[in-house]
Symmetry: C2
Subunit: 353 residues, 2 copies
């Protein structure tokens, strides 16, 4: 049978995307604010007839806008269909050795899926009891290193001097720092790119830039790294970024004011949520991302997860060792935060009664 | 050094995408007509605020529109970022055996690139002297089979009863029929899908549906094949199809009248070109695609290629064994055909003088 030749995998499970609009959707870390107003304008004005032509395979307009914003050369920028596409390509390109790659035991749950898909051996050094990465764990022999910073689903940040320790200590490996959430108060490792040609920093338009629906991720690194990455990308699919995405992505990246304003709002809501959640008996690592990783002192996470869902509030629960007592809650608007907090107040109160 | 762990590849080279608009662009088999008018309407009306949300990972609206059009179940449809993405995923999923996969020696030049990228052994049975696939070559032991039908860059069609011979003769392999060009007069193998669970038919929106710029390809096969393909896709990138692409793709697929009308125009232009090119001393296989694969009795292909380019007419030349005496010329509008034919008349005349 033909099935003997099939690659068998256990895929990653993304968070639910319910079609209904009446949901308080705090389960996939989307931005609650619309994308920069220029995006709508770009859609309205885009010449539809041009769609008959292939897009620019280099996606130069988009790559250049990113390079300009981050003050690097366009040859240091790689773009993909969301940061998942960028990370998948980076795994395929850079983790082709025999030694196991390293990533934390508690982390983005796609890493082990990519490793399995591509047959990459891996090892997972445990975070410490406060969910912190221990840099010394990453100074052992390895075939590559990847971690999110801030980490997912905890929101905990590894200070950049510690990131540098890992990058500097591994000249024989590519180190991928996955900064999907860095814009909400983290500190980026981007300044290190100039000094370390083995560092790849990955970011996304899906969170801080409100464009999850358009699928844009990017990586910044040394010219040499980006060249290798592009070689693999052009061996996979010449035209990943479509013409509309290139145009809208450029517009979005160029509106720095809107970006700063919406990010500041989300940070303010997050800090307020921290105070109120603590007062309600929740504890959590000190997240610098657009989500909080919370557990209640008395109520098990699965119970809260179910009760929230019944009441139209979607959050994320991972039934995995070490984190199965937590819920990951996206920071949305103040109104969404109030809906969540009001629910918790009522639920905890009723439960006590 | 970290470079020891890098996957080294020689990427596929796509046709040039010049930014200039004054080019007669007959080099990448794009459709000369704009996409269905509903696509522009969809762009104008799309609610930009929705782009903050992740797209539907199943791309159900698009998948269902395709299923409806081809009279199959949505569970028999897989969508990707152009047919290259679909084919890359299919190679990764189905060609995971130890025996070499088979594809023709003269064919789409991405097949050997994917095979090399994923470490898949392959063997290339030669086409006959008239560029025809010999089905008996594909009845040898193999780890999978893939060929375009009509073939690229020749435009030659293998009759469906011969396709069936290959599919029926290989119950132990997945057979991928890449029908990127089938809508211009070929006969699709889709009716065979119901009887053979090892047949995957791949098509695209990039040619007959004028949406190369939007990146949509799809595959139709048995539920089992599509499930395996989706497992690998969801192990690579959960959200490949963006929200705009899903919406525009659906609109496009639903306008059957426009599709039929524009395809008929291209076929008419192609048949006229055949007559006039023959009269000018060109010979070519009898293409049923939206391109012609031509050689002149007296003038070498590289010379014509250079002269055309100098005069703002881009076609494709492949410096490869067996086909280095040919040019691949996309069938565009009648005006574009006239520009090409007029150039040839003048050039051949001047050359004789």
């Amino acid at each position: 049978m033909w099935e003997k030749n099939v690659r068998r995998v256990i895929p990653y499970t993304p968070g639910e995307q319910p079609g209904r609009r009446d949901i308080t959707k705090l389960n996939t870390n989307e931005n609650p604010y619309p994308p920069a107003p220029g995006v709508e304008k770009t859609l309205r004005e885009f010449e539809a007839g041009l769609l008959r032509l292939y897009p620019d395979p280099e996606a130069a307009q988009l790559t250049e806008a990113i390079a300009e914003r981050y003050d690097v050369s366009p040859e240091q920028v790689f773009v993909g269909v969301g940061s998942d596409d960028v990370l998948a390509m980076a795994f395929l390109t850079f983790f082709h050795g025999k030694e196991p790659i390293l990533f934390p035991d508690v982390t983005y749950s796609f890493y082990d899926v990519w490793a399995s898909l591509f047959g990459i051996p891996y090892r997972c050094p445990p975070l410490d009891t406060q969910f912190r990465i221990r840099p010394e764990d990453y100074l052992a022999p390895n075939g590559g290193i990847v971690f999110p910073n801030p980490n997912a689903p905890t929101g905990v940040m590894l200070p950049v001097d510690q990131v540098e320790r890992i990058v500097a200590g591994n000249p024989g490996s590519v180190v991928i720092v996955d900064e999907a959430y860095v814009d909400f108060g983290g500190e980026s490792a981007l300044p290190l790119v100039e000094r370390y040609d083995n560092l790849l920093v990955v970011q996304t338009f899906s969170k801080s830039r409100s464009l999850a629906g358009l699928r844009i991720g990017f990586a910044i690194g040394s010219r040499k790294l980006i060249r290798y990455l592009n070689d693999v990308k052009f061996s996979f699919n010449s035209y990943t970024m479509n013409s509309l995405t290139i145009a809208c992505g450029k517009t979005c990246m160029e509106d720095e004011g809107y970006f700063q304003k919406t990010v500041a709002r989300i940070v303010a809501t997050r800090e307020r949520m921290k105070k109120e959640l603590a007062a309600l008996g929740f504890s959590f690592p000190d997240s610098v991302a657009n989500f909080l990783f919370i557990r209640h002192e008395n109520v098990p996470a699965p119970e809260l997860f179910g009760a929230l869902k019944e009441n139209g509030i979607y959050v994320r629960y991972f039934a995995k060792p070490r984190i199965d007592e937590y819920l990951r809650v996206t920071v949305g608007t103040d109104e969404q935060a109030d809906r969540l907090l009001d629910f918790f107040k009522k639920y905890l109160n009723d439960r006590r009664a």
